[in-house]
């Protein structure tokens, strides 16, 4: 009974979300579908950035590099063979003959596998990078991880055999839909939430608040940081794969500082350390960006949305440094209890 009580709000939330998604899917409103897909992808990106940056306080600016790698890796796996031969003629043989097109009934199992493989590949890279970079602290991490972002970009631009270099990588099969994005977003939220309230999560927060004190009571700094970095990279790569199979054509320029800054804005506004805060940050910034974009288009005021968002960002940092929620969580369960007046 107690168990049911605890889970009920979450279940109701999931059911409500599913109904909304189903209605949206059926409505055929391409604009709103695209917007909600984008929001889902940003939720994955921001929640996983929160895991690495917010929970541990190690401020990484390289996460979008993982997204880029995830996007390219999975797109190479799902590209139809004929297109691949024409497009990437110099691929090594074992990659050139792989096509993840198997399906289970109508379910594109190949896309799931390609996403998982790409994310695992990226996690491995994150593990190697993290072993080196997680030893740094403070603002030097920011500079070094930004260096990682630049390195990824240079490699993507120059590894023509795999990425077509600066030319657009297109003809990716549009597998991504509302369900794919939101199931992954739900999974990301679930996993990050579980980590937050695990002993690993508490170690992350402890060494963020006071490293010396944390070490003094026997908390090792490296394992929680590394775990956060690798899991974050995994989901960031998933977001990359979803994004690639959503817009279907992209180039390395997409995955650079503008996107990094957008996700960092969402994180900081929501609150570093709060999963629900990240979701709120994504919703607020997405809504605001969409409204501003309309104003920009109508009045030909390009650049306006960037200025307004950056001003809000600075105001938040100055007047509400913790972001909207800080490390606290809004939970549906609490609303439920208050509303029901039980207990």
């Amino acid at each position: 009974m107690n168990m049911f009580r605890r889970l009920a709000p979450t279940l109701i939330g999931i059911i409500a979300l599913s109904v909304v998604l189903a209605l949206l899917q059926a409505s055929g409103q391409a604009f709103w579908q695209g917007l909600v897909i984008n929001i889902g992808i940003f939720i994955i990106l921001t929640v996983s950035l929160n895991l690495s940056n917010g929970f541990t306080g190690v401020f990484s600016l390289g996460q979008i590099g993982f997204m880029a790698l995830g996007a390219y890796a999975s797109a190479i796996l799902t590209l139809p063979l004929r297109v691949k031969a024409e497009y990437l003629p110099n691929l090594p043989a074992w990659l050139a003959t792989i096509h993840f097109d198997f399906s289970f009934g109508a379910f594109p199992l190949g896309f799931l596998l390609a996403t998982l493989l790409a994310a695992l590949f990226v996690s491995l890279i994150a593990l190697l990078v993290g072993l080196v970079l997680m030893r740094l602290s403070g603002h030097f991490v920011a500079v070094a991880t930004l260096g990682f972002l630049v390195i990824v970009r240079v490699i993507l631009f120059n590894a023509d055999d795999f990425t077509r270099g600066s030319r657009t990588f297109s003809n990716v099969t549009p597998y991504t839909d509302l369900w794919w994005v939101w199931v992954w977003a739900g999974l990301t939220i679930y996993v990050v939430w579980q980590i937050k309230f695990s002993s690993f999560g508490r170690s992350m927060f402890a060494q963020r608040e006071d490293r010396a004190a944390a070490q003094a009571i026997g908390i090792a700094v490296m394992p929680p940081r590394l775990l956060a970095f690798v899991v974050s990279a995994f989901f960031t790569a998933v977001a990359g794969s979803l994004y690639a199979h959503f817009i279907t054509s992209f180039s390395p320029t997409v995955f650079y500082f503008d996107l990094t800054f957008r996700v960092v804005t969402m994180l900081v506004i929501g609150g570093m350390g709060s999963v629900s805060g990240s979701v709120i940050g994504v919703l607020l910034v997405s809504a605001l960006a969409e409204i501003l974009r309309r104003i920009e288009d109508v009045n030909q005021l390009y650049g306006l949305s960037g200025v307004v968002l950056a001003v809000i960002f600075i105001l938040i940092i100055i007047f509400r440094r913790e972001g909207l929620l800080g490390s606290r969580e809004l939970s549906l369960a609490r609303f439920w209890e208050r509303g029901g007046g039980g207990e």
Binding site: G57, F59, V132, L133, R135, L136, G138, H139, F140, A142, V143, A144, L146, G147, F148, V150, I151, V154, I155, F157, N158, F257, F261, V264, V268, Q300, L301, Y302, G303, L304, S305, G306, V307, L309, A310, V311, F313, I314, I317, I318, R321
Partner: protein, 319 residues
């Protein structure tokens, strides 16, 4: 071969001067506030735009330079007052994030203004005669821009060193960089010191921005991003916060970049033989396009093994 080498050395020195100017601009502010100023590249961009508009308005070159310096310094002072002073005493990351925001405002603001003026995003930079063309020194051809960068870099850096070591204000700046709280207790007016640091930093960004714009031939709102990343590397190589270190870092980075550009092409220049084959095998010219990646790998190695830079003191000795 000798001329090729000499030419490359001049290239390295002139690009090194540019990096040194930028890195010192970063180091001035970092030394006192522990702020890695991401908006520094955007200050360069602002300077380039002011210079471009002044020159387009037919102002003579020296006047345009003065307008550019004053304009950029004012922008620098405003950003300090609005975005950084309220964060005095906040964690380092808050300052860093605030400088991201400032950079975004400067970039998008410039975009907005240029679009309102019906200009394209990318505009040609009207290079003045002093900075264009080349002169020949015997068998060598050296571009005027390279010479001006080199001379301007050295003159400014010497003047700055004199300022920091010989004047009272310079002394208070060094004291504040050493220990902000102790400096305040000694009666140093911190706000004035910080403001001066931002003024000098902005003026350095302005000079670097002008030289950079002439070199590129065109300007756009995002032109500051890559140079500022390079300046970070130069500052890290030298030890963030030390002015002498930043200068050294700038020249080391310039040399490194020229080496990474020149060496891979060397195999094609050398007379055929084992040496040429060696270069063709191990440093093919296709490596040149990976130059930036190598430079950043160097940055990460530096942060890991000598985080205080070539000239930096050990962290433990400092406090």
């Amino acid at each position: 071969m000798l001329y090729y080498t000499l030419q490359q050395i001049i290239n390295a020195l002139s690009i090194g001067s540019l990096y040194a100017l930028m890195a010192v601009g970063l180091a001035m502010v970092f030394g006192i506030l522990r702020l890695i100023n991401f908006a520094h590249g955007d200050m360069m961009m602002i300077a380039a735009y002011i210079a471009a508009f002044s020159l387009a308005a037919k102002l003579p070159f020296p006047v345009a330079v003065v307008v550019m310096l004053i304009g950029t310094v004012i922008v620098g002072m405003v950003t300090e007052r609005v975005a950084y002073r309220p964060l005095r005493g906040a964690p380092d990351v808050a300052l860093l994030l605030s400088s991201f925001g400032v950079g975004q405002i400067l970039e998008n603001g410039t975009l907005l203004v240029t679009r309102l003026m019906q200009k394209p995003i990318q505009i040609a930079f009207p290079a003045p005669d002093v900075l264009s063309g080349a002169i020949s020194l015997g068998p060598l051809t050296v571009s005027r821009l390279n010479i001006v960068s080199l001379v301007a870099g050295i003159v400014i850096l010497v003047a700055l060193t004199l300022f920091v070591t010989r004047t009272t204000l310079g002394l208070s700046m060094r004291a504040s960089a050493e220990d902000l709280i102790a400096a305040r207790l000694m009666g140093i007016k911190i706000n004035r010191v910080v403001m001066t640091a931002f003024q000098i930093s902005a003026a350095l960004a302005a000079v670097a921005g002008l030289l950079f714009a002439v070199q590129a031939g065109q300007i756009n709102p995002y032109m500051g991003f890559t140079p500022v990343l390079k300046a970070f590397i130069a500052a890290v190589i030298g030890g963030f916060g030390s002015i002498a270190g930043a200068v050294l870092g700038g020249y080391v980075l310039g040399a490194l970049e020229v080496l990474l550009t020149a060496l891979p092409g060397l195999g094609d220049l050398l007379p055929p033989g084992p040496l040429a084959d060696f270069f063709k095998t191990f440093l093919p010219s296709s490596l040149t396009s990976y130059r930036d990646a190598f430079v950043f790998v160097a940055l990460i190695l530096m942060l890991l093994f000598r985080p205080n830079g070539l000239l930096g003191k050990g962290e433990n000795e400092e406090r």
